[in-house]
C-alpha cells in the first residue's frame, strides 16, 4: 500500500515536470517573430493593461466620492435639524431683548418728537435699563446654554459618523486600487518577459 502511494506520488511529479518542460520547450521552439512585431505586441499588451487598470479604478473612485457625498449630506441634515432646534430656543429666549429694543426705539421716537418732555426722556432711560437687563439675562440664559450643549453633541457625533463613513469608503477604494495596481504590474512584467524572449529569438 505504501509502495503504491509512493509510486503515484512520483508519477505525479514526473508528469507535471514533463508537462512543464514541454510547455517551456514548446514556447522556446515557437516560430520567431520580428522585432517590430514583438514591440507592437508589447505596446498593445501595455495599453490593454492600462485600460484594465483604469477600468477597475475609475468607477471605484466615483463610488468613493458618492459615498463621501452621501455621508456629508447625512451629516449636514443632522446638523441642520439640530441647529433648527437650537435656533428655536434662542429665538424664544431672545424675544424679551428684542421686544425691549423695540420699546426703547419707540420711546426714543416719542422723545425726539417732544424734546421738552422730561417724562418721555425718563421713559427712554427706563426702557434702556430694561433692554440692558434683558440682554444681560440673555447672556446667562440656562435654556440657551443647555441647548448649546445638546447642539454641540449632535454636531460632534455627526462629524464623527461622517469621518467614519469616509474612512471606510476610502479604505475600500484603496483595496481596489491595490488589487488593480498589482494586476497592472503583473501584466506589465508578463509583457516584458514575452518581449525579451521574442527579441532574444529574433536576434539569433
Amino acid at each position: 500500500m505504501e509502495r503504491k502511494s509512493l509510486k503515484v506520488a512520483l508519477a505525479t511529479v514526473l508528469a507535471s515536470a514533463l508537462v512543464g518542460g514541454f510547455v517551456s520547450a514548446g514556447s522556446a521552439l515557437a516560430a520567431p517573430i520580428t522585432t517590430a512585431q514583438a514591440n507592437a505586441e508589447y505596446t498593445s499588451s501595455i495599453a490593454d493593461a492600462k485600460a484594465s487598470f483604469l477600468a477597475a479604478v475609475k468607477p471605484s473612485r466615483a463610488t468613493m466620492i458618492d459615498e463621501g457625498k452621501r455621508a456629508e449630506a447625512a451629516r449636514r441634515q443632522a446638523v441642520k435639524r439640530a441647529l433648527a432646534t437650537f435656533n428655536s430656543v434662542v429665538a424664544t429666549e431672545k424675544a424679551t431683548s428684542l421686544a425691549a429694543e423695540k420699546t426703547y426705539k419707540a420711546s426714543v421716537a416719542k422723545a425726539v418728537a417732544s424734546p421738552t418732555s422730561a417724562s418721555l426722556k425718563a421713559t427712554v432711560k427706563t426702557n434702556l435699563v430694561a433692554l440692558t437687563k434683558a440682554a444681560t439675562a440673555l447672556s446667562a440664559d440656562v435654556k440657551i446654554s443647555t441647548a448649546r450643549v445638546a447642539f454641540a453633541k449632535i454636531r460632534t457625533t455627526a462629524m464623527a459618523n461622517f469621518k467614519s463613513a469616509l474612512e471606510i469608503s476610502a479604505k475600500e477604494r484603496t483595496q481596489t486600487l491595490d488589487r488593480a495596481s498589482l494586476r497592472y504590474k503583473a501584466d506589465k512584467a508578463r509583457a516584458l518577459v514575452k518581449l525579451q524572449a521574442a527579441l532574444k529569438k529574433a536576434s539569433k
Binding site: V13, G68, N87, K94, E101, T132, A135, R155, T174, V193
Partner: protein, 141 residues
C-alpha cells in the same frame, strides 16, 4: 527490494525535474539579456507606482468641487444682520443726541443679542469646510 525501488523512483523524478529546469532555463536566459534593445520603453517595474499615479492624475475630479450653500447658516446670519441694523439705528440716534453713555449700553446689548448663536454658526461653518476638504482630499491615486 523496497529500498531499491524507492531509489530508482527518486532518480526518475530528479531526471524529470532536471529536464524541466533545462527547458525553463532556455527561456530564462532569453529574459536575462534582451537583444537587440526594444524600441519601446521596458522599465523593470521600479517606477510603476509613479506611473500608476500619472495614469490617475488625468482623471477628472469636478464632481467634488461644488459645495452646497448652507441655508441654515445664511438664515442665521441674515437674522443677526437685521437685529444689528435695528440696534445700529438706536446707537446712531443716541450718538446724535450726544448721549454717549446710552450709545455704549446699546452697543453692549446689541453685541449680546446678535451674537448668541455666533459660536454655533462658526462651528457649523468650520465643520462644513472641514468635511468638504476631507471629500476633496479623498485618495486621488
Amino acid at each position: 527490494m523496497k529500498t531499491k525501488s524507492f531509489g530508482f523512483s527518486i532518480l526518475v523524478a530528479m531526471s524529470a525535474l532536471t529536464l524541466s529546469a533545462v527547458a525553463f532555463g532556455t527561456n530564462a536566459s532569453a529574459t536575462d539579456t534582451p537583444s537587440p534593445a526594444p524600441v519601446v520603453s521596458t522599465d523593470s517595474g521600479s517606477n510603476d507606482d509613479g506611473e500608476i499615479l500619472s495614469l490617475l492624475s488625468g482623471q477628472p475630479d469636478a464632481t467634488v468641487n461644488v459645495q452646497e450653500a448652507d441655508v441654515s447658516i445664511d438664515a442665521n446670519n441674515s437674522e443677526d444682520v437685521q437685529e444689528q441694523a435695528a440696534f445700529d439705528d438706536d446707537i446712531k440716534a443716541a450718538v446724535l443726541a450726544g448721549d454717549a453713555d446710552s450709545a455704549a449700553q446699546l452697543t453692549s446689548a446689541a453685541s449680546i443679542v446678535t451674537s448668541v448663536d455666533a459660536p454655533e454658526i462658526q462651528a457649523v461653518a468650520a465643520d462644513d469646510a472641514a468635511a468638504h476638504a476631507l471629500i476633496i482630499g479623498l485618495p486621488q491615486k
